[in-house]
Amino acid sequence: MPEISATSEDTRIYEWCILYPYLLGQKEEREFFKEVEDLFAEVGAKMVAKDLWGRRGLAYPVKGAKEGCFAVYHYEMDPAKVREVDVALRIMKGVLRHMFLKPPKHYHIVKFSETYEQWLKDRETTEEVRVREQEEKVKEQVARKAKRQAKLVTSERKKTKEPALEAEDLTQKIEELISDDSLNNL
């Protein structure tokens, strides 16, 4: 998007950000937008850009709403009329918060609804990376544990080897006895 500038000397470009609750009905939403845009049209403002963000979770509840939608407008209007619109928006039903500001010098209009979605996708991938790393860690831990257990088993075997030898001796003795018996029987 190119750099924005007002077309005439009497007007300035203003950015308006409006937060409204997440309405389920599409019809209600459309009516709300119409109401807002009519407000600007009454004052003779010219729309430069419009960006609807859609459903967003809020960082803190505003007037009981935990979810809201943002609408960002760029309007070219007379500075004397800004206050009028500001007061009207403050009274208007369905507006949770609103804010207007003069964009700084060299400002480029960016559609944050799109960039945010892209960021969410990127963040998902980073999240996946984190999950993968955690899984690898767990695998390593399991491998280490298995090694430790294997070591324990071998050491136990070493301990148990001596009685095993005794058992062999015993079997030998028993065999000798058996053979003796058999000799006796003969």
Binding site: L19, G68, F70, M99, V110, F112, Y116
Partner: protein
């Protein structure tokens, strides 16, 4: 008794382990010639907020004063619009 080189070796090891001086950081916004910071750009603001939602000290982030002021303005606007929390 320790060898005469022992002391020097120990010092060298310490220098390797030491963290880089936080004052030597360069401003990440100055590197990209940032002219303004937008309050709507959440991914950009996010790294400069700590767990509790406070703005990180520029001593640690390395942001220059000019950009820190822009950042503060942007974060305060985002807080008002409930994009960023005031306090967690």
């Amino acid at each position: 008794m320790a060898s005469p080189n022992h002391h020097h070796q120990h010092q060298g090891k310490q220098q390797q382990q030491r963290r880089p001086d936080p004052r030597l950081k360069t401003c990440p916004f100055c590197e990209h010639n940032t002219l303004y910071l937008d309050y709507k750009d959440y991914p950009r603001i996010k790294p400069y907020l700590d767990y509790f939602g406070n703005i990180r000290n520029r001593y640690y982030t390395g942001v220059c004063l000019r950009h820190q002021k822009m950042l503060k303005q942007a974060i305060e606007r985002a807080r008002f619009m409930a994009m960023v929390s005031y306090r967690k």
